[in-house]
């Protein structure tokens, strides 16, 4: 009996990465800005996205959303009330979205063509660990954190915050009763991802949405040029 070492030097998530590269090419060709929203369950991703969709539609932009959850289409129904096309992805127990799920749900999405959109939002499954490993071909990964969660969340989940392009602090309207230490939260985010763009928002009152929408517009124009 002889033994032999076979060198592979291959990415474990190679299939996902290849699919994601293909998706990225399609997004770019279609001129649509794609964002992947990631947070813990309960941060308010859906409320934030609902407000964002409403505001974008009111300004005449074409925006749509894919929303990932383990089960139920509750979020898709909530988001559809904004008037934007929304499609639910049920992962049935899988803790993250992957490129194949995105590819499959973009195909056969009745009435929605990538070329007919300015923005496509992907609301990931509520989880701060697993989604960080899976590239969905997005241009911008957004990490969300609510004032009820504790200022040290970025330190506890550095992998995700370090891979994000923008950070959104939600529920800022209840920061005070929650005893939220704003300076500490900003410092922690910056410690993990120095220089990241941070938006402090309330989906309920609309505080901070202007800055966020201006960022979306700016990024869309940068990416499109």
């Amino acid at each position: 009996m002889t033994t032999r070492i076979v060198e592979l030097r291959q990415g474990i998530l190679k299939k996902n990465d290849e699919l994601a590269r293909g998706l990225r090419g399609r997004y770019t060709a279609a001129g649509v800005l794609v964002l992947n929203l990631v947070s813990s369950p309960g941060t308010g991703k859906t409320a934030f996205l609902e407000r964002t969709l409403r505001e974008l539609l009111a300004r005449g932009f074409r925006a749509a959303a894919l929303v990932g959850d383990l089960e139920t289409d509750n979020d898709a129904r909530r988001l559809a009330a904004s008037g934007a096309p929304v499609r639910q992805i049920n992962t049935h127990g899988i803790c993250h979205l992957d490129a194949e799920m995105i590819d499959r749900h973009l195909a056969g999405w009745e009435g929605v063509e990538l070329g007919g959109l300015d923005y496509l939002f992907i609301e990931n499954v509520g989880n701060l660990v697993c989604p960080s490993s899976y590239d969905l071909g997005e241009k911008i990964r957004v990490a969300l954190l609510s004032v009820t969660e504790g200022e040290d969340k970025p330190l506890k989940y550095p992998t995700l915050f370090n891979s994000a392009d923008a950070a959104v602090i939600t529920k800022i309207d209840i920061a005070e009763p929650c005893g939220f230490d704003r300076e500490l939260a900003l410092r922690n985010i910056n410690e993990i991802r120095p220089g990241i763009r941070i938006f402090e928002t309330s989906s309920k009152t609309g505080v901070g949405m202007e800055g966020w929408l201006a960022y979306l517009e700016e990024q869309r124009l940068i990416r499109a040029s």
């Binding site: 009996m1 002889t2 033994t3 032999r4 070492i5 076979v6 060198e7 592979l8 030097r9 291959q10 990415g11 474990i12 998530l13 190679k14 299939k15 899988i94 803790c95 993250h96 660990v129 697993c130 960080s132 490993s133 899976y134 330190l155 989940y157 550095p158 992998t159 995700l160 370090n162 891979s163 910056n190 410690e191 993990i192 991802r193 120095p194 220089g195």
Partner: protein, 122 residues
Amino acid sequence: MHELSIVSSVVDTVTESVAAYPDARVLEVRLRVGVLTSVVVDSLEFCWGIATEGTPLEGSRLVVTMVPVLMHCDKCAADVELDGVQSFRCPRCGEPCTDLRQGRELDIESFEIDEVEEKVKA
């Protein structure tokens, strides 16, 4: 807990590759895992036995090498290794670092097989 998905990908990839060596048995699979991947090595090992059952990898060892985070520090003009992942600052000069050079690896490096005597072709 996406370790089972990761382990399943490894098993699929190695199973495909090992098909080129008929009757070979896989003894060991070596992975390189970056510190910034949130992959828990204990969980990989826990899933390994289950995921390899009934495959050519059954009974094999999983060997994981952790890859530290390397950032490029502009001020020091050098790649610097971080002590941990709680602060993305240059450990030499304290400057914030954004240019990641290493630490997100999630790779299959190699696998080892035992081969039965190769049949001599007539």
